[in-house]
Symmetry: C2
Subunit: 315 residues, 2 copies
Amino acid sequence: MIFDVLEILKEKDTAVSGAHIAKELGVSRTAVWKQIQRLRAAGYDISGQSKVGYRLKTEPDKLWQEELEKELPPEFSGRVICLDEVESTNNLAKELAAGSQFKPVGLIVADKQTGGRGRFQRVWASPKGGIWMSLVVRPDISPVDASKMAAMAAVIVAEAIIEISGLPARIKWPNDILINDKKVCGILTEMAAEVERVEYLVIGIGLNANFDAETIRGFSATTIKSELGRSVNRVELISNIVSRISKELPSLTSGYERITRRWRELSITLGKDVRISSAERALNGRAVDIDSDGALIVELPSGERRTVRAGDVAL
Amino acid sequence: MIFDVLEILKEKDTAVSGAHIAKELGVSRTAVWKQIQRLRAAGYDISGQSKVGYRLKTEPDKLWQEELEKELPPEFSGRVICLDEVESTNNLAKELAAGSQFKPVGLIVADKQTGGRGRFQRVWASPKGGIWMSLVVRPDISPVDASKMAAMAAVIVAEAIIEISGLPARIKWPNDILINDKKVCGILTEMAAEVERVEYLVIGIGLNANFDAETIRGFSATTIKSELGRSVNRVELISNIVSRISKELPSLTSGYERITRRWRELSITLGKDVRISSAERALNGRAVDIDSDGALIVELPSGERRTVRAGDVAL
């Protein structure tokens, strides 16, 4: 109900009486007053004058489960869990998906992660104001095709950032999103699978949204807020991403060409001289293409072409 | 301590006095008497005469955690959990491995499964007396290579059955073990992974060991006991399998040729006309080889060769 009260306050530029809100929602005035108190405690600046009523002056950048559920597209039919704080959205998503929750899909969003991790178990700074989300999906694919999902997620997040913020988001292989050559988002795709088929995929998206880049100094990264000079509507951005993934999922099994094409267009890796390092070896060459599985094709100085599936890229 | 008392009884053909056992183990005679009672309750037939002592007449086919731990090879350095009954050893193994247990390896063995499952979520009858085991390993491989682990497990289990029982175990693609054309074992390999690297593999082995084939009538399967006319030592067989897997694991990254060669030798699929059915399609042809990833190479009537990674085979 707190969100219903908030909706009414947001609709009006003028003050609204408690009696009016109570009547509209079919509850008592005391019940309305309690929700106003809860909103104030959550950081909403609400003025209240007797005979005049309540007026919303400023609102905090808070993720509301109810708001998110309302904004999510009809294509997404899963359960949503919206949290103020969690250790890691991917770990919680895996736990729930393994326990047969989140069928066929599910979404966890947190305002803050206390133990966020990226690829290779690297620490991922996840302060308040970011978009730390994990989407569980269960496409009927083989584990070999999971890399397609990872490349698809990179394309989709870049497209969503461009649409919502207008910022020039680009992809760095395999699935980092950069703005003006600085990392703004990392994607960690995990799976549970049998040898022949995927049981579920967890698409973890860590997006530096509404906090200052200085907050994560040392990570040579940027944020949407720092690049744009203002915050974006996180619910809108999350919903845009979820909507795109929901619509694009079937192309994992048929019609993947659009993703490969868009990946090429949005890539900052292709055409560049790269150094790729993995646990076993390092490789220098020119990134010339990605294949339909999301692997990078690198041309060595000898002219020989190598397909690279894993590793870090330095441009 | 119960197992120590049992060991002493097993060593002697004659009766052993309670006083002797108590002295050898450095415990009281009452403590010995209590363990004798526990052994009797577990199905051991132990005669006891005053002035003469205890004598083991017959022992049940019971899996003892202590015995298993003692028999496991030094190459296996993980925790062992031996259970009378469990829903599914693979499910428990995944739960423990996800919660960061079983590092780097771990083993679960149960005498009975109440909810055993095979590939494609099929019911797997798992009565008392079988070998229902799940081994957790963490090789440094890509998800693409998980099929190598599955093929390796099939070779190893066939080799272990041949060594321990002398029965002609053979492999039916992808990883069923047959004796005299009847299924005696199924292997279900599951994984948790990022796109680029496997976090852990769970090798689930369901082996129809020491029960009568009639027990699982309707599954068109056989058991070691029915084929051999007697039971085998399950601890010896489990230990043989775990030892072989522990030693062979490094060949996932280098030196896999032995497995491919042995797979070909032990296969009943190669050279046969096969029909392969999967969710999407059926395929008729002749199975001519497996590749280094464990995929089946099928030659169609047109002469065209297809690489098949998933599906059911009918010979």
